[in-house]
Each structure stands twice: as structure tokens, then as C-alpha cells.
């Protein structure tokens, strides 16, 4: 588990871990920029920039940029979320130089051909609309926007449609130039490699890129929520969905792990790898909400979500209402379980059980060189990669009292936003839309 951290003169941080079980190497290049760093009018720019950075560079023709790694049997991808943007390649270790070359080019030499920017606009809008086809995703977007009034976690990573329609090539290129600099980036290499050799190769590929500046911190702070908020979506559909989100502690906050344990008691442990999700379904059949809702016939699925983030984000509960069930009955049952947790806390047996679950999840979360590299880089973008190695210690320090205290503090009515997706039968009802309101 030895990690070497090196910082090049231009500020680029390099993390290397040797794992010699398969002849593979995984390279991830991370940028501390996500949708929370965007300003009104250009929401979605980080994600669109991510797309543009697969479209050719000064030294890689556009028609080769996606195939260059596949010749080595490699996989590549990228994602943008609220705190970070990242790119990865995993391939035969023989391709290490190629992978580093691609990332160095991506950092400094992307083209942003105006015609490519334009043709990508339709692709991005198509991605947005594909997401809107999914009622759960639509509900998630609306509930998240309602929960945040001030902090830029308010807007979805893909951006608002009108911004996507009006964004210019200059907006995209400006964002790229500002944030894609060594001082704002971390490169992670994990696999069947030799550490000194990797550091030498990274220096050779990236050493000549001008440092730039680390991005400024987002200053907005979400004010404490004063009352429950509600979003009711009434649209054509076949199934009902219920969701609640509560403002939650950031990853660095000491309440994060107690709340993670509370979620595991309610829903089973989900782990902390947003890339692969640990690759296995969560153990949840003995969890409180699963027993009440799914075994009770009210819902066909329930899940909880607490993601490690840089700033305080959300703890979410999401339910698919069972055929013949009602949103009101689901809401009543969930809120009763949440209230029970707030009043009575958890039992020592539950703490033992979910500790075992979370320990197992942390093992599954690092199942491959790709996943290990992801975890190191992800935690670096929201704090430090060292946090990845502290997960177990922080988990084991959690007491039943701390879980109870976290539930009391965070799972309150005034801190929550509740969303309903109420399906409407029939087609052609242009009046259906979104109603947003506030109640106690």
C-alpha cells in the first residue's frame, strides 16, 4: 500500500502505487474543477470541456485520440461531477508512456476547433435529454436545485439547457485554459509499474507545462435551511418515485462517518467508490428501510446516498413506489423510520453489523488497479489522498452515540427537501410541469 507522492516544480502532484498482480497500469488525471466552480450563464461548462478534451490535440489527430489506447486493449473514460473532472486510461503496462502522453496533451494542447464545439452542442443536449427521459433523474435534479439556494451545488453537472444553447467556444476554451494547469491537477498511476520510473516519465511528459494557478475556493456557503421544502413533479409516466434530501456534512467533517453508519443502518452499506460502486449490490435486506418499505410491499426499491464531497452536500433517500402503492404511504413510512432513528439511535448489534459491511465494502471498493487509482485521486480532489487510507480508522471510531447525534442534527424536518414524482396517465398534457413550494 506504499504510495509515493511527488510534486513537480510546476506544481503537478504525482501519486504512484505499485500493484503487481496483473500486467496492467491505470492512469488517472484529476482536475480540481467541477460544476460547483461554474458561474450562472455557463453551467455545464466543466462537463462540456471534458467532452471537448477527447477531440484531438496539437499532436494527436482527432480521429486517433480515442483509439490510441484501445490498440493496447485499454479502456478510457472520463467524468465530471460537482467537485472534480477526471480522465482515465487502464491498459497493458507497456502503454504507460502512451497514457501519460495523452494526459499531458490533454492538459496543454487541446484544440477546441469551433466546428467541433458546435457539433458537440447537440451531443451534450442529447445527453441532457436522455437523462430527462428518466423520471428519477429529473426528480433528483429538481430536488437538488430546491435544496440549494446559494451554493453552486444547486445546478446539475450537465448544466441548464439554456446555458448549453448559448455557451460559446470562448467560454469553453477559457475554462479549459484556466483550470487545466499543473497547479490544479493530480496524476495518479497504479499498477504493475516501478515508482521511480513512473516519476521520471511523468516529469518528462508534464515538466514543461507552465504551472498556472490552483483554482480559487468557492466562497458561497449555503445558509441553514429554515423549513422543509417540497417539489412535486406531475408528468406523464408509469411509476411513482419518492425522494428526500437532507443537507449533510462534508467528507472532512467529523459527523460524516456517523451519518454514513446511519445510512447503512437504514439502507445497507454502499461504500465510498462513486466510480464502480464497489461492483456489487449493497447488503440491505436486513436494513430498516428495506424491511419496512420493500418487504412491507410499499416500494420496489429503496436506497440511500451519502457521497464524500468537499463542501457540505446532501444525504438522500430514494424510493421507487410499488405498483399499487402510494407516495403518501411511502413518505409516512420513511419519515417514521427517520424519526425513530432520531429518537432512539441505533443498537450495538446494528453498529457491529454495519461496521462489518462497511469494512467489506472498502475492500470491494479497491478491487482493481483502476479502482485503487480512482479512490486515491478522488479523495485528493476533495482533500487529500491520505483520507483514503484513513477510512477504516474513522469508521472504527464511530460510536452509537455519535450516530444518534448525527441523526438528531441532520435528519430534521427543517433540513429536508422532499420530492414526489407523481405519474400522470395519458399523453399530450402540456400543462404538466413542476411545482415548487415550501411548507413546514
Amino acid at each position: 500500500m506504499a504510495i509515493r507522492e511527488t510534486v513537480l516544480d510546476n506544481g503537478l502532484k504525482v501519486l504512484v502505487q505499485e500493484v503487481h498482480t496483473a500486467p496492467l497500469a491505470s492512469v488517472w488525471c484529476w482536475y480540481r474543477v467541477g460544476s460547483k466552480d461554474e458561474t450562472p450563464g455557463v453551467t455545464g461548462v466543466s462537463h462540456w470541456v471534458e467532452h471537448m478534451n477527447f477531440k484531438g490535440t496539437r499532436n494527436i489527430p482527432r480521429d486517433q485520440v480515442k483509439g490510441i489506447i484501445e490498440k493496447f486493449g485499454g479502456s478510457w473514460n472520463g467524468y465530471t461531477w460537482i467537485d472534480q473532472t477526471t480522465y482515465l486510461e487502464t491498459a497493458s503496462k507497456d502503454a504507460l508512456d502512451r497514457m501519460l502522453f495523452i494526459e499531458a496533451e490533454r492538459m496543454d494542447a487541446c484544440l477546441y476547433d469551433p466546428a467541433d464545439c458546435e457539433s458537440e452542442r447537440t451531443v451534450i443536449i442529447s445527453e441532457l435529454q436522455g437523462g430527462e427521459n428518466d423520471p428519477e433523474q429529473l426528480l433528483d435534479t429538481e430536488v437538488t436545485a430546491a435544496a440549494f439556494k446559494v451554493h453552486p451545488y444547486h445546478h446539475p453537472t450537465i448544466g441548464w439547457l439554456s446555458d448549453l444553447q448559448t455557451m460559446t467556444r470562448e467560454d469553453l476554451y477559457g475554462h479549459y485554459r484556466r483550470f487545466y494547469v499543473p497547479a490544479n491537477a493530480t496524476i495518479v498511476v497504479v499498477g504493475d509499474v516501478e515508482t521511480d520510473d513512473v516519476v521520471k516519465r511523468v516529469s518528462a511528459q508534464f515538466g514543461g507545462i507552465a504551472s498556472g494557478a490552483r483554482k480559487a475556493a468557492v466562497r458561497q456557503v449555503e445558509p441553514e435551511q429554515q423549513a422543509e421544502r417540497r417539489v412535486v413533479l406531475r408528468k406523464e409516466g408509469t411509476a411513482a418515485y419518492w425522494k428526500a434530501v437532507f443537507h449533510a456534512p462534508a467528507f472532512a467533517d467529523e459527523a460524516f462517518f456517523p451519518l454514513l453508519v446511519a445510512d447503512a443502518v437504514l439502507n445497507g452499506a454502499a461504500g465510498l467508490n462513486i466510480w464502480s460502486g464497489g461492483g456489487v449490490s449493497r447488503p440491505q435486506r436486513s436494513a430498516r428501510l428495506y424491511r419496512t418499505l420493500v418487504d412491507g410491499g410499499l416500494a420496489s426499491s429503496v436506497s440511500g446516498g451519502l457521497m464524500p464531497t468537499e463542501h457540505p452536500y446532501l444525504y438522500s433517500l430514494s424510493v421507487s413506489v410499488a405498483e399499487g402503492g402510494s407516495l403518501a404511504a411511502v413518505e409516512d413510512a420513511v419519515l417514521k423510520e427517520v424519526a425513530r432513528l432520531r429518537h432512539d439511535g441505533i443498537t450495538p448489534a446494528e453498529l457491529t453489523k454495519v461496521n462489518a459491511q462497511l469494512r467489506a465494502r472498502f475492500v470491494y471498493d479497491g478491487d482493481s488497479v483502476t479502482d485503487i487509482a480512482h479512490q486515491l485521486g478522488y479523495f485528493e480532489t476533495i482533500g487529500s489522498w491520505r483520507n483514503y487510507h484513513d477510512l477504516r480508522a474513522r469508521l472504527e471510531a464511530v460510536t452509537a452515540e455519535a450516530v444518534h447525534a448525527a441523526a438528531v442534527k441532520y435528519l430534521t424536518p427543517a433540513n429536508r427537501t422532499i420530492g414526489w414524482f407523481e405519474p400522470q396517465a395519458g399523453i399530450g398534457d402540456p400543462g404538466s410541469g413542476i411545482r415548487t413550494g415550501s411548507s413546514k
Binding site: T21, E118, V123, I125, S126, G130, N133, P135, G237, K353
Partner: protein, 457 residues
Amino acid sequence: MTSNGLHPARTVLDNGVTVIAKANHTTPAVSLLIGVRAGAYADPPDREGTAALCARVLDRGTVTRPAEVIADDLDGRGASLSVVTGRHQMAISATCLSDDFGAVLGLAADIARHPAFPDAEVTTRRADLITSIRQDEDNPAPMAVDAFARALYGSHPYARKVRGSVTTVESIRRQDLVRFYQKGFQPHFITVVAVGDVAEEVAIAAIAKVFGDWSSFAKATEDKSASVRGDKPFLSAEALGAKVEGLSGPDAVLVPDAIAPTERRLVTVPMMNKAQADLAYGFAGIRRSHPEFPAFSVMNNALGQYAIGGRLGDRIRERQGMAYYVFSSLDASLGAGPFTIRAGVSADNVERAIASIDTELAMVLESGFTAQEIDESKSYLVGSLPRQLETNAAIASFLLNADFFDLGLDYDVRLPGLIQSVTLEAANAAARQLLDPSRATIAVAGPWIKTATDLHR
């Protein structure tokens, strides 16, 4: 490890259960797969969804363990267990820490051998399944795929949906599940694969211990004298011999040929509340046993997978900016599953997208792929193998698949050679055999209604 091959250990127990084990000590965890050669293909004609519902109820209580006991045991260990079903196979899949392997294996074996199908669970899981079918009905992607399969396969069983429809699932009773189970869960239809932080001989011994005394239902009913205890071999010498020869198992299921469409057709599923349309465009493909399977696989990669969707992705997504996704897939199974091109496009672009696919296919038919395209796809398919065989779950699934299709224990070692030997001519011939825009079946689901001019070329 993978550069020299997996070299798993394999044995067939006296009762016909196949056991495959592969040690991998990267993480202190084990993946277990119990594959059963029975899937939705065996659903009774008016009970589509029987296998799917059986999978949902199977692990919800055994003769000696109520559902809550199973749940508490698994959750207390942080183990995950699920049952999935496909057209021809069902699998109990579990992941646990290596310390828990024995206990989780015992539980999984109990689920495979002694499910109770409690009435209350049948009722609850039937409602869950219906909810998920309803959710699909609101999702253009599965609606397009279902409509495509119905139009392409007509009266052929591959037209049916694995998860069934609301009507058929509503009619499934506990007795249907029990019948399906008794027919499909026979020891000689079972392959158990364990991959992870456990020595191969230890895994095999543990699996033999919990599966070795299982005798078949058919035998138990037909030959009562021999089934007082389940500790004798129950498969006849012929049956065992046939299994070794690979004549039972998949070949026991004879999937008829589909009737190939003679003309182009379009089916639409208007979903006017949706923001984007999904389309499925394709043909009946090939069987997995087709001798030229590697050539079809390379062709599929070059056409619709390599980089960001092969040639189709390059033209339709990259150059024309028309879709967020476009790709092709080859579902070669016991029967000729579909060869499908899928795309997600805005309603305004449906006709253009279909026309673009037509054009690209016509160009492939006329001029073939380039040598570079085929070489790149071959390099990718060969080079990706170590990555695909990195995790326990992926190795287990590869080994189960190799066993199911009788590809041999050394398939991971032979596969690179099979792919390398595909020539440009063979890939082009595979394209010519499958792709023909004038006989394509096309399904569109989304905010789009067919117009008069859209289809005929």
C-alpha cells in the same frame, strides 16, 4: 497471472455438478457464481417472466432458513448475494470476504437446493417485478429494444421478453415457480465457480461438500428405491458421458432458426412525453457455436464499438454530433440472438440517424473495412483480455461462460490466437452475411411518430 493464462481447476462431481475454482489473492475476497442452465427460454408459453420471478423469489427463504435469517446472515458479513436470469441461464452470484467463504457458500447452496418459495414472498416479488416492468414502459431504451425483438423474431421464442409483461407476470403462481425450479435446477445443469482468495483445492472440497449429495428431482420421483439418501451417483453412465462430450447442457436446448426478414420494417412506440428517442436497428445474428464467431466479433467491434462506437460512433456521434450514444452489439447465444445497432437521438434527428446508419452499412458492404480498422479492433480485443480478467467477479463470469458454451478451460489462452487469425476478408464476409439495410428491422421509441417518407430507400 493472466499473461500466462488462468489455468483454473475443474472437476465434475459424481452427481454431475461442475466445479471450477481459481485462486486470486489480490484482495481478501471471493466471488462465487452458481450457474444453472435454465433461463427465460424455458418459461411456459403463457407465463413469460416465470424465470425472472423465480430468480427474485429463489433467495427469499429455504426450507430451513426464513428470508430474514438469510438476510441477517448475509448483511452481518457484508456479503452480497443476488440471483440474475438471462435467456438460457440463471446464476446465483455472491461476493464476500474470504473469511466468510465457507458460510456464504453453504448459504448459497441451500438457496440453490432447498428454496421454499413462500407465498408471501411470491406476492411481494411479483409486485416488485411488475413495478420494474412499469418503469421500463416509461423508458424509451427498453421499449425500443423490446419492440425491435418482437418485430425481428415474430413467432420465434427470442421475441419474448425475459422479464415478461404485466399481464403474464400477474398470472404466475407459486406452483409455476416450483415447476420451473424442479425442471431447471438439476445437478447436471449446475456449474459452480469460485474465484478469489481461497486455494483451489480448498474451494473444490468445500463446494463438493455442499453440492455432492444432491440428486435430481426427476430421478427422485422416478426411481424411489435409489433415492432414499442422496449420497449415490444418480446420473447414468451415458448421461455423464454425454456431459463430458458436451452433449447435454446447452445442446439439450434446441433453439430453432429465426425466419430472416425479407424486407425492411419499422415499428414505432410513440412516447410523446419523452425528450429523446431511442432506436434499435438490426438483424438476426449468429449462434455462439458459429465457426466464424471470432470474425463476427471483430466485425462488430470495428463497426460499432472500437473507441467511441467504431465506425458508426465516429461518423454519427463524432462527425455529425447527432447522438449521445451509438454502438452495435452481437448477442450470440444458443440460438442466433440479435445483432443490434442502438442510438439515442433527438426526435428531429431520428430520420437522419437511420439514414446515416443505412449509409454506413452500405459503405461497409461496398468497400469493406480498412485493414487498419480490423487490425485496431483485433489489437483491442486481444489486449483487453488482461484487463477484463482482473477482478474476481469478471474472472468467474468468464469461466462460467466458457463452461456454458463448451469453450474449454484454456479459452483465455486460446482466445488471442482466435482473434489474431481473423483476416480482413473474414471480417468483411461477416459483415456481408449480417448487414443488409434493405432487410433491416428498426424500432423507434420516443417522441416521434413515423412519417410517410421515412423509410424506404
